[in-house]
Amino acid sequence: MSTFVVLTVTGLGLGAMYFLIASGLSLIYGLMGVLNFAHGFFLTVGAYGTWWMESHLGGIGNISIRYLVSALIGMAIGGLVAALVELVLIRPLYQRHIEQVLVTVGLSLAATALVSAIWGGDERPFVTPAWMTDTTTIFGARIPNDRFLEIGVAIVVLLGLELFLRRTRYGLIIRAGAENRAMVTALGIDVRKAFTLVFAIGGVAAAVGGALSNVYFGQVVPDRGTSLLIFAFIVVVIGGLGSITGSAMAAVVVGVSQQYMNYYPQASWHIGNWGLGDISVVLLLGLVLLIRPRGLSGSLA
């Protein structure tokens, strides 16, 4: 029982990070039809921004405050970088989807290589506030506290995004733009401002994921973002392209089943490490495509 609880909560924590990447991907795809391959890089920006800031803050306040401040700055950098990418690289290729995708591919490769040229390709340890690595006992299972932080933040981001999309004027423009961009433009609204906005929002969400991934993994690496991105893609397709709530549901399913499959088959049948967690998630994706090619919820944001 306690193993089950640990696996579930850890899976939810991982799912939270998948969701933070997938929500931005989904939003950007829903509005602009662009698959943003550089989205994992935004997570890396958040992770390295947080790490760099924290190691340069010195002895200001206690470690929790330093982490919070660094994470906020990391988020700001993530949003800024994302907005810049949209303005400089994506906007000039307006309406040329394939070139936009390829530009993000090139950016992702070049930027990850640059990060590894500057700070080295190996892991760097990340200083985590002690209370996050402490454990809380639930149903006899000792669970590191940071898992609750990740889940909590992801829920806040989900609710925030939903409120933003449903209750604000900008959210209305984004939803309308995803529905019928030509009509929104004809009504005299500059949809391109919304493009920069969704990129910035997606960048901030991914950077939040980056700041959390530092705690989850206890270290930073240049290809953190790109390796999480693959699973975020799976989440986006299972959840249905363009749907935020679909992404949230799929992130939970993917994160949790990944943890179960990584542990149970190996523990009960001693079959060696086949990485079944990752493989089962891919097979799940195949299954969803066979049954419901549009994903769990085939609607737009």
Partner: protein, 368 residues
């Protein structure tokens, strides 16, 4: 044979003949190659360039001719690299048996994956193929039952390999093998894209809905292209394995597929010579950039310049972005003014006009 045909085949034939003779030429071209042309180092570099020229052509069949943006092509390359290595080294099979197994799975596997992933079109197809390729990357890293060697990779048991392909002294045979691979792949794919299914692939690329309307089933034809391309790519993996005398997990990573994509776009997608040019150029540049990064000139530069120059992937990624921006037709389009080339022609393929896939929820203003 008419004069026109002679002229048409004379150029390529002369090129192949010239390349065949390279192992007998001992010129030392300073800075262009690591050593004299017939030295093992240079022949190895040239052989790898040729292997990737062939692999890039297989990718171009998917991307440039059928309009399928796959992000998982390296899975089939990795099958060709890892499967013979495992069969020979871990299971102690003979090389022939290993090749038969690889050929068999090299057909069955893309058929299964293609059948599932071609249910979606456009961008979703890209993501799904990426996910399937992740299986290969996972197995290579996790090293189940010590099969794949994990991050260290897996060396091949050289006693099981044909003698001519073993040892530095025999690099010229490996070079000829790589040349043969590139020529055969090029010939097969030229033949295929000009055959009647080949015309349909290009029709699918131009407008999938219209091919459906005239009563064809695009999915079957796309699957055909997918299996052919993947199988030839697997063959390239085997040649790569022989050249590198071992399997390394890098070939399973998503970045490898992106490398194929960059090669094709760099040379010019959907053109006769583009992919070949791109494959050779990319691999050559990567090798040379690494040499430049290690050279004393770069080490003397201030940190701001030195850091990016020491990373070949940074330079290549940046070069790729520039090509997409300023030369979307690739190198093959230089000097050509007529009609949209390369990426511009592929635009409609990615918008997903097929039935059922998530990509059909594309923005309604796609026809404006």
């Amino acid at each position: 044979m008419s004069i026109r045909q002679v002229v048409r085949y004379a150029g390529p034939a002369a090129l192949v003949a010239g390349l065949t003779c390279l192992p007998w030429i001992s010129w030392d071209v300073k800075k262009v190659f690591p050593g004299p042309i017939n030295s093992a180092g240079t022949l190895q570099l040239l052989a790898l360039c040729l292997v990737f020229a062939g692999v890039a052509v297989t990718y171009d069949l998917l991307f440039g001719y059928t309009g399928l943006l796959s992000f998982g092509h390296t899975l089939y390359f990795a099958i060709g690299v890892y499967l013979p290595a495992i069969a020979v080294t871990r299971w102690h099979w003979s090389f022939t048996e290993a090749l038969l197994l690889t050929a068999g799975l090299g057909l069955v596997f893309p058929f299964l994956v293609g059948a599932v992933s071609l249910r979606v079109g456009g961008i979703a197809f890209a993501m799904v193929t990426l996910a399937f390729a992740q299986i290969g990357a996972t197995l290579a890293i996790k090293n189940p039952h010590n099969l794949t060697g994990g991050e260290e990779g897996l060396g091949t048991d050289y006693r099981k390999l044909p003698d001519v392909f073993v040892g530095v002294f025999n690099t010229k045979y490996l070079y000829w093998l790589a040349l043969g691979y590139a020529v055969v792949v090029f010939a097969i794919i030229r033949w295929a894209v000009n055959s009647s299914p080949g015309r349909i692939w290009q029709a699918i690329r131009e407008n999938e809905l219209r091919t459906q309307v005239i009563g064809l089933r695009p999915r079957g034809y796309k699957l055909m292209a997918f299996v052919l391309s993947s199988f030839l790519c697997t063959a390239g993996g085997v040649v790569y394995l022989l050249l590198q005398t071992g399997a390394n997990p890098e070939v399973t990573a998503a970045n490898m597929t992106l490398t194929f994509l960059i090669m094709v776009v760099l040379g010019g997608a959907g053109t006769k010579w583009g992919a070949v040019l791109g494959g050779v150029l990319y691999w050559y540049l990567q090798d040379r950039f690494r040499a430049i990064g290690d050279s004393s000139t770069v080490h003397g530069l201030p940190g701001v310049l030195r850091t990016p120059l020491s990373e070949p992937l940074f330079l290549l990624g940046a070069l790729f972005v520039l090509v997409v921006f300023f030369l979307p037709g690739g190198i093959a389009a230089i000097g050509r003014r007529r009609g949209p080339t390369g990426l511009r022609r592929l635009e409609s393929a990615l918008r997903g006009t097929d039935s059922g896939g998530p990509a059909t929820v594309a923005t309604p203003d796609q026809h404006t």
